[in-house]
């Protein structure tokens, strides 16, 4: 059997400005600061149109190639894309009012109440979406009076849900003393489920595969669905699959900080290659906790808060179809425990070892996708340009290999890299937002291959000082007829 392929992918964003206040950093600052933080946040939020026109967001959903960012003057938020569409080749940018409806559809435990007067607006907006115009939206009709919502918020630990500056509902806790089931955690989990489901719905619409053909789902979201006895117990893969009608699939969650999507894709490829599963979906929803993570830097620079979107990703891995780019099974680069903390050892493990195995030079890879965080989010907050540093490291490996001289690094970055365009949603920027662009460019014959390299910060969990990383290469399908 030939190597598995990535047959389809979807990349979605959801504009959630009213949830920025519930991001980990903003919510802590709102609680702790002696000066009013919330009004400052609110005056620096973007409209839906501004989020749609933002060039990196247009790259994310597939309407612009990442290289185009090189030609757009920074700051990009001052140079909106003209006639930008919320829909793109790989997905869409969804507005908040539609997403609130989708969250309610994802809610199987009445965790979320929608307020009576807001319900028609939420229902109408979701009904206008091409994917949900014929769906049963009865869940949204079961709305409640504002007085009951206020009572829940004031007396029972529920959190208000906002949209366009007003309360439109609330999110409840589901156990009085269980931190894993408090309102904020359930909100985070429900948002991951709903955004993952949006990504998976796009994937299913885009590929010519029915939901009931999927036999395995691997969720790589950054959340911790569980309860007090098992925080992070899991189950989001099946929750998302259930919502999307994947009735013949089973699934589980894969956790590896920001490398999660790469681990999930490598697992998917291995399981397809082994014949255990045939059509495997990798899906990741968005991270509420990371909304507004760098907002202080943005406020200090008088910028809009750019971390106002959730991301969502979905990929379909199947056996060889004779046309989609293949995941080379001999291309997996891994950060061994024994690689230690030397950056050179780590990068050699992730990039050089697999290339040596395949008999390729560093410059034989047309494009590298690394951690693709948008620098316009991170640089103003004093966090540096992460993709650029990683590209320079791959260039430095090529210098050490005598494939080029040191002066060639900048050119290498330009030709084999790309500017970061992904929101800082942890697992979302993990190299894979380039997959859509890479698959299309390879199919069009503009590129032969691309390597995906993601890094994870295991040390953040305080159980090891190790970091992590994983990589793989996709290449043009040889177009052979499959032997089996």
């Amino acid at each position: 059997m030939y190597d598995p392929v990535i047959k389809a992918c979807s990349h979605v964003l959801i504009h959630t400005p009213s949830f920025v206040r519930y991001g980990s950093k903003p919510s802590r600052e709102i609680d702790d600061s002696t000066t009013p933080v919330l009004p400052a946040i609110e005056t620096h939020l973007r409209s839906f149109e501004e989020a749609v026109e933002y060039p990196p967001n247009q790259v994310f959903i597939g309407n612009l190639h990442p290289d185009r960012l090189n030609g757009i003057e920074q700051p990009w938020y001052r140079h909106p894309v003209e006639d930008a569409s919320r829909y793109g080749a790989y997905g869409e940018i969804m507005p908040e009012e539609e997403f609130l409806g989708l969250m309610k559809l994802a809610d199987d435990f009445d965790l979320m109440w929608i307020e009576k007067e807001s319900a028609p607006m939420i229902k109408k907006s979701l009904q206008a979406h091409p994917f949900w115009n014929n769906s049963d939206l009865g869940k949204i009709d079961a709305a409640v009076e504002m007085a009951r919502i206020h009572d829940k918020i004031e007396n029972q630990g529920s959190l208000p849900l906002y949209c366009h500056g007003r309360i439109v509902g609330c999110m409840h806790r589901h156990h009085e003393k269980d931190d894993a089931l408090k309102a904020q955690v359930l909100m985070e989990n429900l948002m991951a489920k709903a955004s993952g489901a949006l990504a998976l719905t796009h994937l299913l619409k885009k590929s010519d595969i029915r939901a009931d053909e999927i036999d395995l789902l691997l969720n790589c979201s950054e959340e911790a669905v569980g309860d007090r006895y098992n925080r992070g117990g899991g189950g989001l893969a099946k929750a998302i699959g259930e919502m999307c009608g994947c009735v013949s699939a089973t699934g589980c969650d894969i956790k590896a900080f920001c490398v999660g999507p790469i681990y999930a894709l490598v697992h998917a490829a291995g399981l397809v290659k082994s014949g255990l599963f045939n059509k495997v979906v990798v899906v990741g929803g968005g991270s509420m906790a990371k909304l507004g993570m760098k907002f202080k830097g943005h406020l200090a620079k008088g910028m809009p808060i750019l971390e106002d979107v959730l991301g969502g990703l979905a990929f379909l891995v199947t056996g060889d179809d004779g046309e989609s780019p293949s995941i080379r099974m001999d291309s997996i680069g891994k950060h061994d425990i024994g690689s230690g903390s030397s950056q050179q050892n780590i990068m050699e493990s992730l990039v050089l070892k697999p290339l040596d195995r395949m008999g390729k030079k560093i410059t034989d890879v047309d494009r590298y996708a690394v951690e693709l965080q948008n620098p316009e989010v991170t640089v103003p907050a004093g966090s540096g340009n992460v993709p650029l540093t990683n590209y320079r490291m791959i260039g430095a490996l090529a210098v050490l290999r005598r494939e080029m001289n040191r002066e060639g690094i900048d050119r290498f970055v330009l030709e084999h890299g790309m500017p970061g365009f992904s929101p800082t949603q942890g697992h979302i920027p993990a190299a894979v937002p380039f997959l859509g662009h890479a698959i299309d460019a390879i199919k069009r014959g503009e590129m032969n291959n691309a390597m995906f390299v993601a890094r994870g910060s295991l040390f953040l969990g305080r159980m090891t000082q190790l970091s992590d990383g994983l990589s793989f290469l996709i290449e043009k399908n040889p177009g052979r007829k499959a032997p089996n």
């Binding site: 920001c258 230690g340 903390s341 030397s342 950056q343 951690e371 965080q373 991170t378 966090s383 540096g384 992460v386 540093t389 990683n390 490291m393 800082t424 942890g426 920027p429 890094r455 910060s457 040390f459 953040l460 000082q465 970091s467």
Partner: protein, 41 residues
């Protein structure tokens, strides 16, 4: 310069990681009292 000193290490996941700096400092005869690696994303 570092011999006998007590070192606080602030490494960077995408630069020189904490444990790598700590190894350098120990080799230079210093005592490492804190190793932190930053992840800026």
């Amino acid at each position: 310069m570092f011999k006998g000193k007590k070192i606080i290490v602030f490494g960077d996941r995408d630069g020189v990681p904490g444990p790598a700096i700590a190894a350098c400092m120990k080799a230079a005869g210093a005592e490492v009292v804190l190793t932190v690696t930053e992840c800026f994303v």
